[in-house]
Symmetry: C2
Subunit: 213 residues, 2 copies
């Protein structure tokens, strides 16, 4: 059992929080707007709700499930002192919807949101993962092809990546592939444009890729 | 049997040309430097070698197998009048090695090389494909997992995509997925950063992705 703080109360934050609670962890979900969570709270009575700072303070491990455009602001509100020394599982995607659909990326190519977070919080162990699948698959990967598909981890700290890999396996993930240091977050974030096109072509978000050798 | 013009004499151009010749097509390979092809010519006596313009003139269908940084220049040398009305299979990747390894992209996010080519040559039917795998897999996809993995086509002309799909199937491809119009070239080009990281993590370029539903 671990104390987990989940920043962000959208689809991804709620899915991650519910799954962690289901697995017996002590979860607090952090939000600007606790009212948004009344429905979630009703069906997850054991879940705690707090401000971003309270949530970061609560967690031994933190999940960034915020909108990528807001992630750095939210992490600043959460507070460096509440985050330092901890593993931050970064699930965010820096999607830019301001130029119409499909969205482009706010940062890409020679940088990534994962790297920006790591640079802004050098004492935090950032592990980028899960941003390449829809929320439902993140937490119940066996729903697709009995789990026979891949998720990736990127980060500078090997031990942090191992810890996150264990959590992913507890969610049901079978194939967790280490892509390298946090600069490999560029790869998984820049995967989003093809992922969005695949969603369009397949007519469902319930898919993922398997690496075939 | 078709007349094919392959622009570019690097690894990809040679692989595509050899495979097309093997399948009985009348192939000309276009290059700035015919000497580079002496070895290839020795083992492919039926293959023709020409300038970019001669090659584009020869082909009923054209393959852009040039370095992405040079593609627009080469296509201009090939000549709009030699290209107009034809299908252009665009295999190029706009990789930028000038900032060190891993390479970044010369164009991405709100544009792509596939789109730039389509815009520069509006009378050409550009179909982006094959840029997501290594040359060897492009032309012999059954080498990996008996061909049980995916390649993508992007382009504005449905009939051109069908024609290219047939050629891909003649190469051995089983799963060819239509991602949409030429703007979906952004997706397959921005896939390169994760592809390069996967190559590093797997220790081989002999892999591809399968879409699992």
């Amino acid at each position: 059992m671990m104390k987990a703080g989940v920043l962000g109360s959208g689809t991804v934050g709620q899915a991650i929080s519910a799954r962690l609670a289901e697995l017996g962890h002590d979860v607090m979900i952090g939000t600007r707007d606790p009212n948004k969570l009344s429905e979630w709270q009703a069906s997850h009575k054991e879940g705690k709700i707090g401000s971003f700072a309270e949530t970061a303070g609560h967690g031994e491990i933190i999940f960034n499930a915020t909108n990528g455009a807001a992630s750095l602001d939210v992490l600043n509100m959460a507070g460096e002192s509440n985050l330092n020394g901890k593993v931050l599982v970064d699930i965010s995607n820096p999607l830019d919807f301001s130029k119409g659909m499909p969205p482009s990326l706010l940062v890409s190519n020679t940088d990534s949101l994962g790297e920006q977070i790591q640079e802004a919080f050098p004492q935090v162990k950032v592990v980028k993962t899960l941003n390449t699948v829809t929320a439902n698959i993140m937490v119940y990967p066996r729903q697709v092809a009995n789990g026979d598909h891949h998720v990736f981890v990127s980060g500078n700290d090997a031990q942090a990546k191992e810890q996150v890999t264990d959590i992913l396996k507890s969610f049901g993930w079978i194939h967790v592939l280490d892509l390298g240091d946090i600069t490999s977050a560029r790869g998984v974030e820049m995967y989003l444009p093809i992922w969005l096109r695949l969603w369009g072509a397949l007519g469902t978000g319930m898919f993922n890729v398997k690496i075939m050798k």
